[in-house]
């Protein structure tokens, strides 16, 4: 990973927030990609928050006062995106799917961040046999197909199927196990590098305890690149969740709405030309992942001065201000 360049300290605190500062740095195509990503992310977050308000029906509702819903009905005025083979409203299920997705992403990323960073810090700073074992273990897990590992984990946690909370936690923990090695590797590598820095040595000389060195001196410095990994892992969490759901290892359809599961059901519809049951949950996955990826990718490019691009106007301004500064 690249070392992020710190935004100039002249700006206010607000301006130096990760996404805001990137937005200010960007221009042209890069800004377009970042903005597009942010818009997609906002749509995703909003639809997950507002799903109960926006959705005309419940995610597991197949009838209302006027009787049972039609099955596999094409999109019309009442069912905007049609209904599934079990009579659920596709539009409502897709909206509620965002809710499930966001819970799983948050739970998975927070858990893996916490455990991964902790292990990386300890392992990198203390070294020795613990470090060696952790590295081999993390590499072994890292090299393994993540979906398979998630499958094994979800068997362990819930024997496959479960309730809403259980299902979300099972999916999140399965994904966590896959992610821990990634955070571990990044943080450990940073800690190994920082360990030799003078400020760490001086802390040691003063007599700071290993814990103090790790948590006050190393933690902040070693975790600078993590926001980036966060967006990337969020996409992978979402794709793994969908993959698990597609294989029938997700959350039961009556407990929560999940895009991958809906796509699994839609597979047999597709052979008879029914497109709406699969298209909408599928597009929801694609657009959400795209949004997160665009944000992560743009932030990464902007953090790397070699990839950062200025608009001609801005480049001129920079050279002018540099000349003005030099002539003073």
């Amino acid at each position: 990973m690249t070392t992020p360049t710190l935004p100039s300290s002249a700006g206010s605190r607000f301006k130096s927030l990760p996404v805001i500062s990137h937005l200010r740095m960007s221009s042209g195509l890069q800004r377009g990609m970042l903005v597009a990503g942010l818009v997609l992310c906002a749509v995703f977050i909003l639809s997950s928050l507002l799903a109960p308000l926006l959705a005309p029906f419940g995610f597991a509702q197949s009838s209302d006062a006027s009787g049972d819903f039609p099955r596999q009905a094409a999109p019309d005025a009442k069912f905007l995106w049609g209904t599934t083979s079990t009579g659920y409203d596709v539009f409502s299920r897709t909206l509620f799917g965002a809710q499930t997705a966001i819970w799983v992403i948050l739970a998975a990323v927070v858990m893996s961040l916490f455990i991964g960073v902790l292990l990386g810090l300890i392992s990198g700073y203390l070294g020795g046999w613990f470090d060696r074992i952790m590295v081999v273990l993390a590499d072994a897990i890292y090299a393994f197909p993540s979906l398979l590992l998630a499958i094994v984990m979800s068997i362990v946690i819930s024997q496959g199927q479960s309730s809403l909370f259980g299902g979300i936690m099972a999916a999140a923990i399965s994904i966590t196990v896959v992610f821990i090695p990634q955070y571990f590797r990044v943080v450990r590598a940073e800690v190994m590098r920082l360990k030799a820095e003078p400020f760490v040595e001086s802390a040691q000389v003063i007599g700071a305890s290993p814990w103090r060195v790790m948590f006050t001196h190393l933690l902040r410095n070693a975790t600078r690149t993590l926001p980036l990994i966060f967006t990337l892992n969020a996409t992978e969490a979402l794709l793994t969740l969908a993959g698990l759901g597609f294989l029938g290892f997700g959350i039961e359809p009556t407990a929560a709405s999940e895009w991958g599961y809906d796509l699994n059901r839609a597979m047999s519809d597709a052979t008879s030309g029914i497109w709406w049951t699969g298209m909408f949950p599928g597009l929801a996955i694609v657009l959400t992942v795209m949004g997160l990826t665009l944000v992560g990718e743009s932030m990464n490019d902007l953090n790397d001065p070699r990839l950062r691009r200025f608009s001609r106007k801005k480049a001129k301004r920079i050279t002018q201000s540099a000349q003005a500064g030099a002539s003073k």
Partner: protein, 362 residues
């Protein structure tokens, strides 16, 4: 590293221990790298074994509810699942060494037989997908690098992100809908028509890779049939990987296009086309080979989903079946085999990378 996704693409997935001396050279690297396979595979087998057993014995999982408690206990005792966990573990390790992975619970076949029967189909799918990925990723990556930050580049990068963002099963769904159902051009499931399948499996010592078998027997009709069936799954899985390749080639070619020797070539009057395809292209390939190792893991994960989507009867398809049947002996066998495949491919990839680029060898 400027490639961001999938995350953490460091050059080598397995950190080789740094040799103390500068000497030793290639052989030494080869041996240390080879020895590193053993702990990797061993750890994965151990982790999978204990994880699968934490929740209970496989027989209760598979047969629970269908047998009376007495029958269940008898079956468990018969299979030895009531013995201490550690003894079972060492026995399992011993079995693996002798190449015996037990028998499946749901259809009572030897796990090794399942692996050899369906492994070939997965291999075929993986090969097809890699071909698609290379055909798509390398030329388009070069185009994107050549037109850096202009419209072709922007469009290609967005397409690459789209490729990454689309789950294989959704790509499969769309391909099935468009080419199978609406246009009716291509078959949407299976590896071949049943007649062709019968002909091909009836051959003497079939390799199990259908197009290879069809070519060897000179049966062009069968080959055509197999190719038609293979196209959509290969596209679905290959485009996913192709997107990753595109981004890699792009970043690396941008790096090499800026080098002095390219500039020198340009001043000598070498054509732009040749500069891109020859001068900048070769050095940009090295990272692809190393990242390919990581892609194998992703490819196998994707294969599980692709096979389920297209009812392609390979390991992934069977894995999903056995998962639904709660047949954890079979699941464990397949997972162990995939772990070994991934470890060995990573080894091969690292060795190839070391052969190409001496700096890797410490």
């Amino acid at each position: 590293m400027t490639i961001t996704s999938p995350p953490g693409q460091e050059v080598s997935p397995i950190a080789a221990p740094k040799a103390k001396s500068q000497g030793g050279g290639f052989l030494r690297y080869l041996i240390t790298r080879f020895l590193l396979i053993i702990p990797t595979v061993f750890i994965l087998i151990t982790v999978v074994f204990f994880l699968m057993r934490v929740t209970g014995d496989p027989i209760t999982a598979a047969m629970g509810g269908r047998l009376t408690p007495d029958q269940l206990a008898a079956r468990i005792h018969e299979a030895g699942y009531d013995r201490p966990m550690l003894i079972q573990y060492f026995e399992y390790l011993g079995q693996i060494f002798t190449g015996d992975l037990g028998r499946t619970l749901s259809d009572n076949r030897a796990v090794t037989e399942v692996l050899t029967t369906y492994g070939a189909a997965t291999l075929e799918l993986a090969i097809n997908a890699v071909i698609v990925a290379l055909l798509v990723g390398i030329p388009l990556g070069l185009v994107a690098a050549k037109f850096r930050d202009r419209y072709p580049d922007a469009i290609l990068r967005i397409l690459a992100i789209l490729g990454y963002a689309t789950p294989v099963f959704f790509a499969g769904l769309i391909l099935k809908l468009v080419f199978g159902v609406w246009l009716g051009w291509l078959p949407i499931s299976g590896r071949a028509d049943w007649e062709t399948e019968l002909t091909l499996t009836g051959l003497q010592s079939p390799s199990g890779i259908y197009w290879l078998d069809a070519l060897r027997s000179g049966n062009m009709e069968a080959f055509w049939n197999v190719a038609m069936h293979a196209l959509l799954p290969a596209l679905a899985l290959g485009l996913l990987t192709g997107g990753v390749f595109l981004r890699l080639v792009r970043t690396n070619a941008i790096g090499t296009l800026g080098r002095e020797y390219v500039e020198a070539g340009r001043s000598r009057g070498v054509s732009e086309f040749r500069l891109t395809t020859k001068h900048a292209y070769r050095p940009a390939l090295i990272p692809i080979i190393t990242v390919m190792g990581l892609q194998i893991a992703m490819l196998l994960g994707g294969a599980v989903l692709t096979e389920t989507t297209f009812e392609w009867s390979g390991l992934g398809f069977k894995l999903a079946e056995y998962l639904t049947a709660r047949d954890f002996v079979a699941v464990q066998g397949i997972v162990v085999l995939l772990a070994i495949i991934v470890a060995v491919t990573n080894f091969i990839v690292d060795v190839v990378a070391a052969l190409i680029d001496p700096r890797v060898r410490y």
